[in-house]
């Protein structure tokens, strides 16, 4: 059994998988990779099952010592990954050798990158998932000195898969949404503002993204606490929107005005402060 060692943790690096299902009744969020599409692709490229843990890397990437031979792939944001200082291609399976060091550099597009290793990243499972989320897992992210077990693959077969990624995943400002349960609490005028306005992304993290509209959507609406899921768009009294993401709480007291499609959640996960988005309404 080999391992990788975190030499430098980067901005926010954590192990994530498809999510933690079955525990929402205890108030445990689903968690899992923010951009499930890119994470899934990373596993596919190294011949892993979709349930394997991947490393989610946010903006400023970690420095990782690889103490095993094997196959890796990096998908999602292009954070200029390199092995021993030599650039490696995105969205492609790449061999690595024991002793090599993986680093990241200048972000080129996107915010979150996914590192998958053939055989999976074998961090411990807690409540059926490897996704890091405090207080379910001891820590919410990886720290300097952390090690993750890896299988040693001296002679891994390189899959023939070569993927051309659709870059609109990163560049589009359109987020497709469904009508939310409380959309009808808004006036017709406010509803149309919601689907015509530009929103600017403010504070954002794995729990949620704040969106600031140009128009005034301030209101006195409230609902008694109701179930929410990743992608639920809440309207706060100030008029700011909150889009709940993977670590978002499972219940909430703000009106649920829209619901992001699965694809839109993945796309929003690749955006950060200052970027703008628009909603486009899907017929369900």
């Amino acid at each position: 059994m080999g391992r990788l060692i975190i030499q430098k943790p980067g901005l926010f690096t954590s192990i994530q998988d498809e999510g933690r299902y079955g525990f929402r009744r205890y108030g445990v969020p689903v968690s899992g990779a923010m951009d499930q599409q890119s994470a899934g692709l990373a596993n596919l490229l190294v011949n892993n099952g979709p349930e394997e843990g991947v490393m989610e890397i946010t903006m400023h990437g970690p420095e990782i010592q690889l103490e095993a031979d094997g196959l890796l792939a990096i998908t999602g944001a292009d954070l200029s990954p390199g092995l021993d200082g030599h650039p490696i291609p995105m969205n492609t399976p790449v061999f690595f050798e024991k002793g090599q060091r993986l680093t990241c550099g200048r972000p080129r597009y996107g915010i979150r990158a996914y590192l998958a290793v053939h055989g999976g990243l074998k961090s411990p499972k807690v409540l059926a998932s490897r996704s890091q989320y405090y207080p379910v897992t001891a820590t919410k992210r990886l720290h300097m000195g952390d090690t993750i077990a890896l299988k040693n693959y001296k002679n891994a077969t390189k899959p023939h898969a070569s993927v051309k990624v659709d870059t609109t995943h990163f560049s589009t400002e359109q987020l497709e949404v469904y009508v939310g349960p409380e959309l009808t609490l808004l006036s017709k005028k406010e509803q149309s503002l919601l689907f015509e306005e530009r929103f600017t992304i403010g504070t954002n993290n794995r729990m949620g993204y704040q969106l600031q509209p140009d128009a005034d959507l301030s209101n006195n609406l409230s609902i008694i606490t109701a179930p929410v899921i990743p992608g639920t768009v809440q309207l706060t009294p100030s008029g700011k929107l909150i889009v709940l993401m993977r670590d978002g709480q499972v219940t909430g007291g703000y009106p649920r005005v829209a619901q992001l499609s699965r694809e839109s959640i993945n796309r929003l996960a690749q955006k950060t402060n200052g970027e703008t988005i628009e909603f486009s309404l899907l017929k369900s």
Partner: protein, 243 residues
């Protein structure tokens, strides 16, 4: 039965069905929700992954490859039309130390409400509270039954860090912070038990429908229970009651 008429079924996203009862907090609605959850538990539906509830809503999360929204809705309507078993609930007595040493807002709260600490303890420990659901944080119970004289709007500036076990009041609600977290409620005491243990398959010992009473303990008893709880040696036994 009037409750049945006002239930709506909506889809939220790709794989969640929302059952919504009428929009208020009511023990009858809770009973109705508990009955559906009990039916889901006893009659597994292929494709249903999990469910969670709030005051007046039940979210059922399903695998769209295995069951469709209309199929699931039919099955749920079927549950509602059948006679359902009595839901057995449990009544827990939770030890709490009401003291400024662990309740950082206790004195300010009492001052504001013009109560002595003993009066507050009496008002907080007298009611039998109902657990409506768990949400907001892992293990955070939403309780009904707080005495109106203890209602106090949450702080405008939430505290950065509320310690685990903190017993608090916010608005018309009271509850326990199971883990350290930022929060805007007023912390009046601390309960030394483990309200969320992720090493257990069932990380919370309480569940919706259960009843809670708070019981005031001395500082020395608090330390004793804390020690035992850390070693998993504090056996809290509930009373069984008919829901």
């Amino acid at each position: 039965m009037p409750i049945a008429e006002s239930i709506t079924y909506q889809q939220l996203g790709h794989e969640t069905l929302l059952m919504q009862w009428s929009g208020h907090i009511d023990e009858e609605i809770l009973k109705s929700i508990l009955q559906v959850m009990s039916a889901l538990e006893d009659n597994p539906i292929r494709g249903v992954k999990e469910w969670n509830s709030t005051y007046n809503s039940l979210a059922i999360h399903f695998d769209a490859h295995k069951i469709s929204f209309p199929e699931l809705r039919l099955k749920l309507e079927d549950f509602r039309s059948k006679e359902s078993a009595q839901v057995i609930a449990r009544k827990w007595t939770l030890p709490v130390l009401y003291d400024p040493s662990v309740g950082i807002d206790l004195e300010a709260f009492c001052l504001h409400k013009n109560l002595s600490i003993n009066e507050l303890i009496s008002l907080h420990t007298t009611p039998t509270y109902r657990i409506f659901f768990i949400g907001f944080l892992p293990g955070f119970m939403y309780l009904g039954g707080l005495d109106p004289s203890l209602h106090l709007p949450r702080k405008a500036d939430p505290d950065r860090s509320i310690p685990p076990g903190s017993v608090a009041i916010g608005g018309a609600q009271t509850g326990i912070y199971p883990v350290e977290s930022p929060g805007g409620w007023h912390v009046i005491g601390n309960s030394p038990l483990s309200y969320f243990d992720p090493t257990l398959e069932k990380p919370c010992f309480i569940q919706p429908g259960d009843e809670i009473v708070f019981s005031s303990v001395s500082p020395s008893r608090f330390e004793e229970i804390k020690e035992l709880a850390l070693k998993n040696e504090f056996n809290l036994k509930p009373e069984l009651i008919n829901g």
